[in-house]
């Protein structure tokens, strides 16, 4: 018997990374800005996205959304009320979306052609851990944090916050009754992801949405 070492040096998520690279090239060729929205369950991703889609539609922009959940199409039905194409992805127990799921749903989506879109939002499964490992080919990864979750969440889940391109604080309308320490939250986000752009928003009152929509337009034009 002899033993020997065989070098592999192979990425474990190589297949996902390759599929994501293919998607990224397709999005770029179609001229669509793709954003991946990640947060805990209950942060208010869907309410925030619904207001975003309404705002974009009112401005005459063409947007669509893919929404991931373990089960039910409740979120897709809710988002569809914004008047844009929405497609639900049920992962049936899987804790994250991956590039293969996105590719498959884009291929099956009859009423949407990527090159007819300006914005495509991907609402990930509510989870602050696993989605950080799976590239979906997005150009911008948004992490959301609500005022009810505690200011130290960025410190507790650094892997995701560190991988984000911009952060959105939601439910600012109830910040005061929740005793939300705004300064501490902003400092913690910046400690984990120095230089990140942070939006303070409320889907209910509309606060911060104008600034957010302006950022989207700038990002799409390639200015941020």
């Amino acid at each position: 018997m002899t033993t020997r070492i065989v070098e592999l040096r192979r990425g474990i998520l190589k297949k996902n990374d390759e599929l994501a690279a293919g998607l990224r090239a397709r999005y770029a060729a179609a001229g669509v800005l793709v954003l991946n929205l990640v947060s805990s369950p209950g942060t208010g991703k869907t309410a925030f996205l619904e207001q975003t889609l309404r705002g974009l539609r009112a401005a005459g922009a063409r947007a669509a959304a893919l929404v991931g959940d373990l089960e039910t199409d409740n979120d897709a039905r809710r988002l569809a009320s914004a008047g844009v194409p929405v497609r639900q992805i049920n992962t049936h127990g899987i804790c994250h979306l991956d590039a293969e799921m996105i590719g498959k749903h884009l291929a099956d989506w009859q009423d949407v052609a990527l090159d007819q879109l300006e914005y495509l939002f991907i609402e990930n499964v509510g989870n602050l851990v696993c989605p950080s490992s799976y590239d979906l080919g997005e150009r911008i990864r948004i992490v959301l944090l609500s005022v009810t979750e505690g200011e130290d969440k960025p410190l507790k889940y650094p892997t995701l916050f560190n991988s984000a391109d911009a952060a959105v604080i939601t439910k600012m309308d109830i910040a005061e009754p929740c005793g939300f320490d705004r300064e501490a939250a902003l400092a913690n986000i910046k400690e984990i992801r120095p230089g990140i752009r942070i939006f303070e928003t409320s889907a209910k009152s509309g606060a911060g949405m104008e600034e957010w929509l302006a950022y989207l337009a700038e990002a799409r034009a390639g200015r941020s």
């Binding site: 070492i5 696993c130 892997t159 560190n162």
Partner: protein
């Protein structure tokens, strides 16, 4: 909790590698699978090890050991011009000058580094 799917990818990848080995190594037993896991890879080593036993059952990897080499985060500091290792993942600043940095040089790795196999001498 995506460790089971990660481990399933490892088993697939190693099984595939075994089929590409020269004829003399056919039927080799896998003793060890060595991983490099960065501090920002979002996987829990204990959980990987637990899932590995389940996922490797009935495959050529059954009974082998999963060895996890943890890699700390390394950031490049512009002002110092140095690559600096961070002690944890709670602060992304150069440990020497305190300047924040998002220029990661290490820490997101999730890869199979190598495998150790045992082969019969007679086949050589």
């Amino acid at each position: 909790m995506h460790e089971l799917s990660i481990v399933a990818s490892i088993v697939d990848s190693v099984t595939e590698t075994l089929t590409t080995l020269p004829d003399s190594s056919r039927g080799a037993r896998v003793l060890e699978v060595r991983l490099n896991v960065g501090a920002l890879a979002s996987v829990v080593p204990d959980s990987l090890e637990f899932c590995y036993g389940l996922a490797s059952e009935g495959t050529p990897l059954e009974g082998s050991k999963l060895v996890i080499h943890l890699l700390p985060v390394v950031v490049h500091c512009g002002p110092c011009g140095l690559d600096a290792e961070l002690e944890g993942v709670q602060s992304f600043r150069c440990p020497r000058c305190g300047e924040p940095s998002i220029d990661l040089r290490q820490g997101r790795e999730l890869e199979i580094d190598s495998i150790e196999i045992e082969e019969d001498e007679e086949k050589k």
